[in-house]
């Protein structure tokens, strides 16, 4: 009872604090503090309610237990991180986004390809990727290569569609200007169309970050060496080691958010000229 009560109290306090903070002028401090307080409030409420309602730890462990498991298993978590994120997700992300980017430029050069590939691409993009995972594991083996392949397949089309759209984003007048200069195709591409496409390209890159991580983890459910975040999650559930499962989920969420945030920062630097980046 006392736990539940304190849960509600924490809720109220956190909420109040955030309302107060968010109505102060925006500074980089409040910009950071508000979401963090929000998160801490959520986590504290979770702790209180799990304890107060006596929820079995094999269903939902309290955050304190997760933290302990995290601290005790840093070796495992690090090994899994390297296997899944660095080897699987990152390499797949780079290959997939890179290939999509080059394909987009090729498609853009040949309108025939564009008219043919995009509708088909949309169909392929609709393939539920969960279904592709077992097939790719079958084709590329158990190790990280098949995870990277899943990531490549997952990020390719979102990236392609965004880049193609971005390459068409320059307006008529901007392109006409290049015509009056008799600029070559390459000059137009480098000086006009790629800069104009940047917001779209970054949109694709951002979507791809979350997809990459999910893809790499999910693919490990369909066969893997005995390490990796997906492997650990799926086997630990079977062992009812839910605290370790959640520790892995925390890693995934932190890494995913950091990955996303990193790309968003890069975007801010590269496209500072774009209206959406100007407060």
């Amino acid at each position: 009872m006392i736990w539940i009560l304190s849960g509600f109290v924490i809720w109220g306090v956190g909420w109040r604090l955030n309302i107060w903070l968010s109505h102060k002028p925006k500074t980089s401090f409040t910009r950071l503090a508000v979401p963090i307080i929000f998160g801490i409030t959520l986590i504290a409420m979770w702790e209180c309610f799990v304890r107060g309602l006596e929820i079995s730890p094999v269903l939902l462990p309290p955050p304190s237990m997760i933290a302990v498991a995290f601290a005790e298993s840093t070796n495992i978590l690090w090994e899994d991180f390297v296997q899944t994120v660095i080897k699987g997700a990152l390499s797949g992300y780079i290959i997939g986004c890179g290939a999509a980017f080059l394909t987009a430029i090729a498609i853009d050069r040949f309108p025939f390809l564009q008219r043919g590939l995009l509708p088909v691409g949309n169909f392929v993009a609709a393939l539920p990727i969960i279904g592709m995972a077992p097939i790719l594991v079958m084709w590329f083996g158990f190790d990280w290569q098949s995870k990277a392949a899943v990531v490549v397949v997952m990020v390719f089309f979102p990236m392609l569609v965004n880049t193609v759209q971005g390459l068409q984003a320059s307006d008529h007048m901007q392109r006409d200007l290049m015509r009056t200069y008799a600029a070559s195709y390459a000059q137009t591409l480098i000086k006009l169309r790629l800069p104009a496409a940047m917001p779209f390209i970054f949109n694709g890159l951002k979507i791809a970050t979350t997809l990459a991580l999910i893809g790499a983890i999910v693919a490990e459910f369909f066969g893997s060496p005995i390490k990796g975040m997906g492997f650990r999650i799926s086997t630990s559930v079977g062992q009812l080691a839910l605290d370790l499962v959640w520790a892995e989920i925390v890693v995934a969420a932190v890494v995913g958010s950091a990955f996303y945030g990193g790309v968003a920062l890069l975007e801010k630097a590269v496209t500072s000229w774009h209206p959406s980046q100007r407060g």
Partner: protein
Amino acid sequence: MTTDPVISAKNLSLTFQTNDGPVHALKDVNLEINKGDFVSFIGPSGCGKTTFLRVMADLEKPTAGEITVNGVSAEDARRARAYGYVFQHAGLYPWRTIGGNIRLPLEIMGVSKSEQDAAVKEVLEMVHLDGFEKKYPWQLSGGMQQRASIARALAFHADILLMDEPFGALDEIVRDHLNEQLLELWARTNKTIGFVTHSIPEAVYLSTKIVVMSPRPGRITDVIESTLPKERPLEIRDSPEFIEIAHRVRDGLRAGHAHD
């Protein structure tokens, strides 16, 4: 001196196909522009001024008739980089600073870095934007953007300058100043200039030839050769000759509107 036509349009027509039927933006347009001419185009909104300018610059292909520039096709002239073009809206690239925007055509044409610097400095002074080289377009007011766009077209020395309502967003004083500057540049370089405007005094003040157009379909209703001298102080706008030409332009315009 005998003047070869720099631009010569013969029976030019351009029809846009739109989903609610064809739009005759230009119909049977004939015009000759000689080297060193300053030609203004004036006419009600939608009469085809922009379209005509775009055809000259090979940004639009005529559906009938013929246009030659410097004796070759408009396309060849474009490839030879014969044009400087100022668009109706500033159209600066938002990811480049003002300096970077002005530098753009120079980079494309392979001008050396030091020459670029010199050119940028020169044209920025000409349009009174010195000190704004490092600013981004959105950090400037509308009028300043328009001036930057003019500077960009002046930065490389094209023979033919096509300007689509370049001074629309400017106040009278700045406009007068830029008018003078433009005349000075024109006199100095002997460029051929095509100039679209809505302002009758501006057209009369600047031009050697005023082309009055009327819409639906877009055609030329009058071509007025100016009798004003090449040397034109601002005061010339109070001279009877000036007022008479302005009257003739206004009458031509009114006739165009009557067709509505």
